[in-house]
């Protein structure tokens, strides 16, 4: 299987405000020398708590910000070395969905307009038939193009955000806490949808979450981050069966349904 995304020794530092006038503070290392690959049609899960650097890593993969060291190769091309125009041409190939679909959809624009946005950004025409087909693909109706975000439930809004992300037929989908704000029953629907789309379109998925249970349900490989440093990485089955680090173990404990007392299985 061909490597879709190759993250090589990526580091990102942020300067910290000075506490004293004549003394620089040591920078905060948000992501520290992370290397990982995603093959076509595979899912990589990145797990960590707040401040672990998982979202910073996602932003670098999306070329929203550049690493201080290391490189991100998308199909062999260093995305941070591209010109603006080259990046614009490549963007339809990798798309992102966020935690809060309400915040990422323009409330004054129709669903059809929002879903077509990545096409317009890439200078393509927004073919109504393609928009309609994409909405149906994520379990919405073609007639929903003329409705507005507030007319949908949280789960349906996340479907709209997914439609917008896949409308350009990308090869890579980056999902940052995409199901964290959803109810358990709705979350299962969205996770299944992502798995279906992956099968259908051969998507590579970078799936970021703080919840190990969610990650384990759809990921092939796993990367556990803590304070910007990789604590553990490898096949999801291997790590979940035998976590090699105490931190992974804590995350597992938090995610597991442990029954105690009378009647516990």
């Amino acid at each position: 299987m061909s490597v879709l995304l190759d993250i090589r020794g990526v580091t990102r530092r942020y300067p910290r405000p000075r506490k004293r006038l004549f003394q620089e503070e040591a920078p905060l290392v948000a992501v520290d020398n992370v290397s990982v690959q995603i093959a076509q049609g595979r899912t990589l899960g990145i797990v960590g708590e707040s401040g672990s650097g998982k979202s910073t890593l996602a932003r670098m993969v999306m070329a929203f910000e550049a690493p201080d060291a290391g490189e991100v190769l998308f199909e062999g091309k260093n995305i941070h070395a591209l010109t603006r125009r080259e990046l614009q041409a490549l963007r339809p190939e990798f798309q992102m969905i966020f935690q809060d679909p309400f915040g990422s959809l323009d409330p004054r624009r129709s669903v059809g307009w929002s879903v077509a946005q990545p096409l317009r950004a890439a200078g393509r025409t927004a073919d109504p038939a393609l928009i309609a087909r994409t909405l149906e693909q994520v379990g919405l109706r073609a007639a929903d193009v003329d409705r507005f975000p507030h007319q949908f439930s949280g789960g349906q809004r996340q479907r709209i955000a997914i439609a917008r992300a896949i409308v350009t037929r990308p090869k890579l989908l980056v999902a940052d806490e995409a199901v964290s704000a959803l109810d358990v029953s709705v979350r299962a629907q969205i996770l299944n949808l992502l798995m279906d789309l992956q099968e259908e379109m051969g998507l590579g998925i970078l799936f970021i979450s703080h919840d190990l249970a969610v990650v384990s349900s759809l990921c092939d490989d796993l990367l556990v981050l803590r304070n910007g440093v990789v604590v553990e990485q490898g096949s999801a089955a291997g790590i979940l069966n035998a976590p090699g680090h105490e931190y992974t173990h804590t995350l597992l404990t938090a995610a597991r349904l442990e029954l105690q007392g009378e009647g516990a299985a």
Binding site: S153, S185, R187, L257
Partner: protein, 322 residues
């Protein structure tokens, strides 16, 4: 002791809570679990006498033999000062950012218990120690923004415990916290309830957190308790189709079965006004019968102290539905 009998809360036509009945004995830990719109927070507010003004409550609510159904604001204020305390999801929002946290915790001690300033300070220090706040002396002087999320939640727990309440209502207290911090907060709440003989109402959408914290669980859907019983029994052998669906829809970490499609509950949680008049879960239920949507299911006893509100309970009990 808390006794709730046929408690309903209406907002005009919409019924936010429908015929809730439950009993809580001193030291008991009850988990209220459900998705958004299930009514779990509304029930928490009802137990605190803090329902919105437009809400019309009916039914009976007694706390320590005080009948509080239709109690006046003054009576509730007294209740909240001494007997019932509450903590919330976002501790930053519940603390005054301009006050040192020590002063915030000392306020009820001075106001309600009439302690002198130095006594209140000593008591606040003890409460900080009891809730596991490190360097309590120093923390008393700090402002909310100087503390981490977990420490802020501990400060709020200390504040809630200030007047030695018999009941602590915790509404999603761990949802905004990181996993390892959340584990310690649920441990703390469990220990406090046990050591103090305090009733704990733990409200959460997180089944794992409820399983760790509560002894009894009430599963809520559409403003009703659909199933209730000892947490281990309910979650290992659920009787209600909704509880079953919820448990199955939850990804489990088995290690062996990765990338498996999750069994889904179809549809969305309907808005309050759109709930079916009969069984609230009809329309999404896998074992629904034609009369379910129109007729309210009775609350059936299903062995031991367990109950389940479903028309199909008799068949479930016969094992005919497996």
């Amino acid at each position: 002791m808390i006794e709730v009998q046929d408690l309903s809360v209406r907002f005009g036509e919409a019924e936010a809570l429908r015929r809730i009945s439950l009993t809580l004995t001193p030291g008991e830990r009850l988990g209220l679990v459900g998705e958004s719109g299930s009514g779990k927070s509304m029930l928490g507010l009802a137990l605190m006498g803090m329902l919105p003004e437009q809400a019309a409550m009916s039914g009976r609510l007694t706390i320590d033999a005080h009948d509080l159904s239709g109690a006046a604001d003054r009576e509730w204020r007294e209740m909240r000062a001494r007997k019932v305390a509450m903590i919330f999801q976002e501790p930053m929002m519940a603390l005054n950012p301009l006050r040192r946290v020590g002063d915030t915790v000392m306020e009820p001690l001075r106001l309600h218990l009439g302690l002198s300033k130095s006594d209140a300070r000593r008591r606040a220090l003890e409460l900080f120690e009891e809730t596991g706040i490190q360097d309590p002396e120093e923390k008393l002087r700090q402002y909310p923004h100087e503390l981490s999320g977990g420490q802020r939640q501990r400060v709020l727990i200390a504040l809630a415990l200030a007047c030695d309440p018999g009941i602590l209502i915790a509404d999603e207290p761990t949802t905004a916290l990181d996993a390892h911090v959340a584990l310690r907060i649920t441990d703390l709440l469990t220990r406090l309830a046990r050591d103090r003989g305090m009733m704990l109402v733990f409200i959460s959408h997180d089944l794992a957190a409820v399983a760790r914290t509560a002894e009894t669980v009430a599963v809520m859907y559409g403003g009703e308790i659909v199933e209730m019983g000892p947490v281990g029994q309910v979650l290992s052998d659920p009787k209600h189709p909704y509880t079953k669906g919820l448990l199955h829809a939850r990804p489990t970490i088995t290690g062996g079965e990765l990338r498996k499609r999750l069994p889904m509950i179809p549809g969305n949680v309907p808005a309050l006004a759109d709930l079916p008049p009969g069984c609230r879960f009809s329309g999404r239920c896998a074992v629904e019968l034609p009369h379910c949507a129109g007729t309210r299911p009775a609350i059936h006893a299903v062995g031991g102290s367990r109950s389940c509100a479903c028309h199909r309970v008799p068949e479930v009990m016969d094992g005919a539905m497996e």
